[in-house]
Subunit: 109 residues, 3 copies
Amino acid sequence: MKLITAIVQDKDTTKLSNAFVKANVRATRLSTSGGFLRSGNTTFMIAIEADRVQEVLDIIKDVSQKRKQFMVPPISLDAGGDHVGAYPIEVEVGGATVFTQEIESFYQF
Amino acid sequence: MKLITAIVQDKDTTKLSNAFVKANVRATRLSTSGGFLRSGNTTFMIAIEADRVQEVLDIIKDVSQKRKQFMVPPISLDAGGDHVGAYPIEVEVGGATVFTQEIESFYQF
Amino acid sequence: MKLITAIVQDKDTTKLSNAFVKANVRATRLSTSGGFLRSGNTTFMIAIEADRVQEVLDIIKDVSQKRKQFMVPPISLDAGGDHVGAYPIEVEVGGATVFTQEIESFYQF
Ligand code: NI
Ligand code: NI
Ligand code: NI
């Protein structure tokens, strides 16, 4: 068995949980924070058979890898009351830090 | 040294914490969630000497293994206002997922 | 890569987070509790290159090791309304439990 630990942004947590359930992957969720700019992240712990590690890595990558997204910045008004700066801008969201470790013994009581 | 990680139901958390204190086992508690039907669980991390691992596994199994329990379901009323369905039913509670890993170095500062 | 897990008192959390940022060490923070008298602690998880482990251990030790501190106990009044027991006393604060483990594979998506 292997332990997979995956730290993802809060915004990807629900979608990733659903993807794990659909793939019959049992993941334990920890609310975590920190790591430079990543305040508000979630850590998943997954104990799984060695031959399913790649499948889990693929799910994590698919759902939470870094990608560009267009976002409309908050609107501000100029002196005359006109909307300014309301053009969508491209931002980077998502991203996952993932590592695997050996499990020596595994029990279900 | 070994690291024991144990994920148990919230309902068993207090009893398990007390059992660890009584056995002089130092456990760190994390509030966790998820894993199929187990929303609301707690994860214990225990760093311990290799020759005490079995003792800790025994404590976890004793306190939190899956067992049957009789529960009275919520009362509902039929059209005439009589209580129905208030018979105790047998449900399964508890259960623990536990795994052990190698610790390379251990420090107390 | 290695995984460093460090459990410290809540009172040392902010200072330790800042020290990690300053040293460019990416640490994920978990709110944890328990372990005998240490209710209210924080666990840091740090995945890092093997040749930086000692640097991280030094930071943790510098910031959070056990030390003596003078503290003024809460004031109580004797029968005549005079302050008693307001002399500073020496107490032990801080302390860290730290362990390192092997990481098999590490990914950033
Ligand atoms: Ni969060
Ligand atoms: Ni919980
Ligand atoms: Ni805390």
